[in-house]
């Protein structure tokens, strides 16, 4: 009599056809770690936004928000970043369907829209500097450039990740589950968009 124990968990692939994972939670550890990371990022941006709120009225001898902000330009930037979230989610959909070509197209479109957003931010910073608002001009300037600069760095890192992903998909060298890799980078990208939603309202639209 053979006593055969079939441990389905042990035999299950890391990510089976139904999306279950051979982990203690049945969820992807990578995805769980990404959500945990995004949760901690809320604390980072919360600190930067709070600091800005505290210091936005400390103008020193420099210009204030009402004198330098160009709301129509920033609105266009916000719209571009929102649309990049749409192209990102379409890339995730294409990856889940195993459509490499469309995945690369939508990822590239997302990176392009992200680059446009960063370009707009560089233009905005340059214009502010020419109008007399530098990083050390006032507490308002310091907290504004730190907050929006940190966000810009996050977008730039996202663009690098997107372009790297396009490269490794082209060479068919994606480690593990391709759809999950695209989804993880997508989560990061959408988070950057969510943060901008808050910054756009609290920093640009609500007057000091």
């Amino acid at each position: 009599m053979a006593d055969i124990a079939v441990h389905e968990g042990a035999h299950a692939h890391e990510h089976d056809a139904h999306g279950a994972h051979a982990t203690s939670t049945g969820l992807s550890n990578n995805k769980l770690a990404m959500w945990l990371f995004l949760g901690t990022e809320c604390l980072l941006f919360g600190g930067l936004i709070s600091t800005y709120m505290l210091y936005r009225g400390r103008l020193g001898n420099g210009p204030g928000p009402g004198q330098v902000f160009d709301i129509p330009l920033t609105s266009i930037s916000s719209f571009i970043l929102l649309m990049s979230s749409l192209t990102m989610v379409l890339a995730v959909n294409a990856a889940k369907e195993g459509d490499d070509r469309n995945t690369r197209v939508w990822l590239s479109a997302t990176a392009l829209l992200g680059a446009l957003f960063v370009g707009g931010q560089v233009y905005e910073f340059t214009a502010f500097y020419q109008e007399g608002l530098g990083f050390t001009t006032s507490l308002f300037g310091s907290s504004f450039f730190t907050l929006t600069g940190f966000h810009g760095v996050h977008v730039s890192l996202g663009i690098i990740m997107l372009m790297a992903l396009v490269g490794i998909i082209t060479r068919s060298k994606v480690p593990g589950d391709k759809a999950e890799v695209v989804e993880l980078i997508g989560l990061y990208w959408h988070f950057v968009d969510v943060v901008w939603v808050v910054i756009f309202t609290l920093v640009y639209l609500i007057p000091a």
């Binding site: 009599m1 053979a2 006593d3 055969i4 124990a5 079939v6 441990h7 389905e8 042990a10 299950a12 089976d16 999306g19 279950a20 994972h21 982990t23 203690s24 939670t25 049945g26 969820l27 992807s28 995805k31 769980l32 959500w35 945990l36 995004l38 949760g39 901690t40 809320c42 604390l43 919360g46 600190g47 936004i49 709070s50 709120m53 505290l54 709301i71 609105s75 916000s78 719209f79 929102l82 649309m83 979230s85 749409l86 990102m88 989610v89 959909n93 989804e183 997508g186 989560l187 959408h190 968009d193 969510v194 939603v197 808050v198 756009f200 309202t201 609290l202 639209l205 609500i206 007057p207």
Partner: protein, 112 residues
């Protein structure tokens, strides 16, 4: 006679994409993006009438921000369909951030 014992790992039964309804189509995402764009346009419009109706503008801006925040999380980040554990991870971070920084701002008499 052989006895086959199946030890099912119940953890693997949980799916990343817990079915809380049908999965979204491309059209759904496009509709969400259009709604987000319209809300952004509404937010931007407050810039021109904020002087006349300050309180209304503030309330409008906060409501618009909250709607956009939640829509991106639920639809674009798939929290509507994913495991509640992912939502928990993120909402703990958001909740902590809001609580900690409201206390910090109160310490500096920001709301006074």
């Amino acid at each position: 006679m052989s006895a086959v014992t199946e030890h099912t790992d119940h953890g693997t039964e949980a799916h990343d994409h817990a079915d809380h309804g049908s999965h979204p189509t491309t059209l759904t995402f496009v509709k969400v993006a259009i709604i987000l764009a319209v809300i952004t346009a509404l937010e931007t419009s407050t810039y021109w009438w904020v002087e006349d109706a300050h309180t209304v503008a503030m309330i409008t801006l906060f409501i618009c921000m909250a709607i956009k925040f939640v829509m991106i999380l639920l639809w674009f980040m798939h929290l509507k369909w994913d495991s509640a554990l992912f939502s928990l991870m993120f909402y703990i971070g958001v909740g902590l951030a809001i609580a900690v920084y409201i206390v910090a701002l109160m310490t500096f008499h920001f709301f006074a």
